[in-house]
């Protein structure tokens, strides 16, 4: 009898391990596939001509994606400028000020925001933000600033939930000690709680960046997709993700490979961001 129970336990354990590893397998397959399709062009054209190339005309033999790399970082930075203060404020309110009832209302609302499909954000951007930017600021409206605004809102849930967790995990004794020293609530927050939760908050920003840099649908709809590096916040631009989604439909031969090369670069950037974010979180736990 005991043997059977042990056997069953073992069986369940191994099945679970197999399933757990399968997600790793998927990750590996995706890596292998993207690298397999994307690397040949790097070898053929040269890493420098792709990553630092200024001209993208894949049907004519130019595969430079440097402007898109810059553009991707620009919209991501723009999204952070908008999303980070908003998200952090919201997280501070949730963890330090809001009552139970408000929290019960706000938390699900933010989760709902995370669940809104990106095409809906894109659509709202085209219908409302683009015309507003065009009418009040100038340009075509399909621009760096419109895209940053929409992405800024889209990364809010990521920033809020992760910095909230970081703020909440600051030990209660810190707050009590600060209060005992005669600090007001706000003094406690910005002198004690935020510094203690710093690495978690930074991690939330970096994960938010990862979300923004990987966003595609909304970006294609709002960014205008011009190939040039934008020289003002009102200029249109094309991101790495936008480039892939925009051109995949018609691409063949080297053009198609070039899109996979774009994917390789994008994957590397996101891997680096995730690494930094994890590093930040780990340091917090080590403390």
């Amino acid at each position: 009898m005991i043997d059977r129970t042990v056997l069953k336990e073992q069986f369940v354990k191994w099945v679970l391990i197999a399933f757990a590893l399968s997600s790793l397998l998927f990750l590996f397959l995706i890596f292998a596939f993207i690298l397999g399709e994307g690397l040949p062009l790097f070898l053929k054209v040269g890493v420098k001509n792709i990553i630092f190339g200024m001209k993208w005309a894949p049907t004519k033999g130019y595969f430079g994606i440097f402007p898109m790399i810059i553009s991707s970082f620009l919209v991501t930075f723009g999204a952070l400028v908008i999303g980070a203060p908003l998200g952090l404020s919201c997280a501070i309110y949730l963890s330090e000020y809001s009552g139970k009832k408000m929290k019960m209302f706000l938390k699900p609302a933010i989760e709902l925001l995370a669940g809104i499909p990106s095409v809906v954000f894109g659509f709202l951007g085209v219908i409302y933000i683009v015309p507003i930017v065009r009418n009040y600021l100038g340009g075509s409206g399909f621009s760096l600033i419109s895209t940053s605004l929409v992405l800024g809102v889209m990364i809010l849930p990521t920033i809020i939930s992760i910095s909230f967790d970081a703020l909440v995990s600051v030990p209660k004794t810190y707050r009590e000690a600060s209060a005992a020293m005669g600090a007001t609530k706000w003094q406690t927050i910005y002198k004690v709680i935020i510094p203690s939760a710093k690495s978690g908050i930074l991690a939330s920003f970096i994960l938010g960046m990862g979300r923004a840099i990987g966003e595609t649908m909304a970006v294609i709809m709002i960014a205008g997709n011009a190939l040039k590096i934008p020289t003002s916040i009102l200029d249109p631009l094309r991101t790495l993700t936008g480039n892939i989604a925009l051109e995949l439909a018609y691409a063949t031969g080297d053009h198609r490979l070039a899109l996979f090369s774009t994917g390789v670069v994008l994957m590397l950037i996101i891997m680096i961001l995730n690494y930094i974010a994890n590093f930040g979180i780990k340091r917090k736990i080590a403390k």
């Binding site: 399909f142 205008g224 997709n225 011009a226």
Partner: protein, 262 residues
């Protein structure tokens, strides 16, 4: 974009293997030709209840590829075949003008080919240069690889390149949407898709219309092609015959295209 193609392939295999019931014709390719093919297919299926016509997009190049691989019965292309693709059977079903469109409130009604080339190559960048307000021109192009872009480059841009600062949208519909909402935009779309939301401009004094295309006066015209790999099978031939028949051509004409018999 490839998924429906693959899905369609499975459906067709299923149907061919059973041999009974409905037969399927799979058509894929140019997104410019697709809406018209869908219309034709609707009418065709009313009279041929035993045949299902499955129309998919993917783009001209995908259409050519799919025909070469025999994954579709008919490929659609809105550009002429390249040399290494000429082994395919080419059937011209109609001609389509490419209209240069601006916002309805734009007072500019006529441009020359040179001016359009200037706008898209970046040498003309302000509406004042074209006799309107001092405001940057928001030119909208199509993405690399698109049949409409290919035809526009060949017929308008010639040896000039489209400027890197030009906005890019990935379908005729998106270009139309941008031009319809941005008063300072200019773009190019298939003439059959021009409606009251946007305003086509005259080119070298010639308004784009079926009449001016027929007479050869309007120059920005491209063929819409059906492609088959070798001799088409019977049901495919029935559909092609229908498209080339008077009824089929009338449908295309009603959509603003120029038939082959004109």
């Amino acid at each position: 974009m490839l998924l429906p193609l693959i899905a369609g392939l499975f459906i067709s295999c299923g149907n061919n293997n059973t041999g009974k019931g409905k037969q399927t014709i799979i058509i894929a390719g140019s997104t410019s030709v697709m809406p018209f093919t869908e219309k034709l297919a609707e009418h065709f299926m009313i009279d041929n209840k035993d045949i299902t016509v499955d129309v998919q997009g993917g783009g001209s190049t995908a259409g050519v590829q799919a025909t070469l691989n025999r994954t579709v019965n008919i490929g659609m292309s809105s550009r002429d075949l390249k040399d290494d693709e000429k082994i395919l059977n080419k059937i011209i079903i109609c001609h389509d003008g490419i209209a240069i469109v601006v916002h309805r409130d734009n007072p500019v009604t006529a441009l020359s080919i040179d001016q359009i080339r200037g706008i898209f190559s970046g040498s003309i960048s302000n509406w004042r240069q074209l006799g309107w307000v001092s405001r940057k021109i928001d030119a909208v192009s199509r993405e690399e690889g698109s049949g409409t872009r290919g035809a526009f480059e060949e017929l308008v841009m010639k040896d000039k390149e489209i400027d890197d600062g030009t906005m890019v949208q990935d379908s005729n519909g998106s270009v139309k949407e941008v031009v319809a909402t941005d008063p300072y935009a200019i773009g190019y779309i298939s003439m059959g898709l021009v409606d009251e939301k946007v305003k086509p401009v005259s080119i070298n004094g010639i308004r784009p219309s079926i009449k001016t295309i027929k007479s050869g006066k309007y120059k920005i015209v491209r063929p819409f092609l059906y492609l088959t790999n070798g001799q088409p099978d019977k049901r495919t031939q029935t559909f092609i015959d229908y498209v080339l028949s008077k009824d089929g051509q009338r449908i295309l004409k009603n959509e603003g295209l120029v038939g082959i018999h004109d």
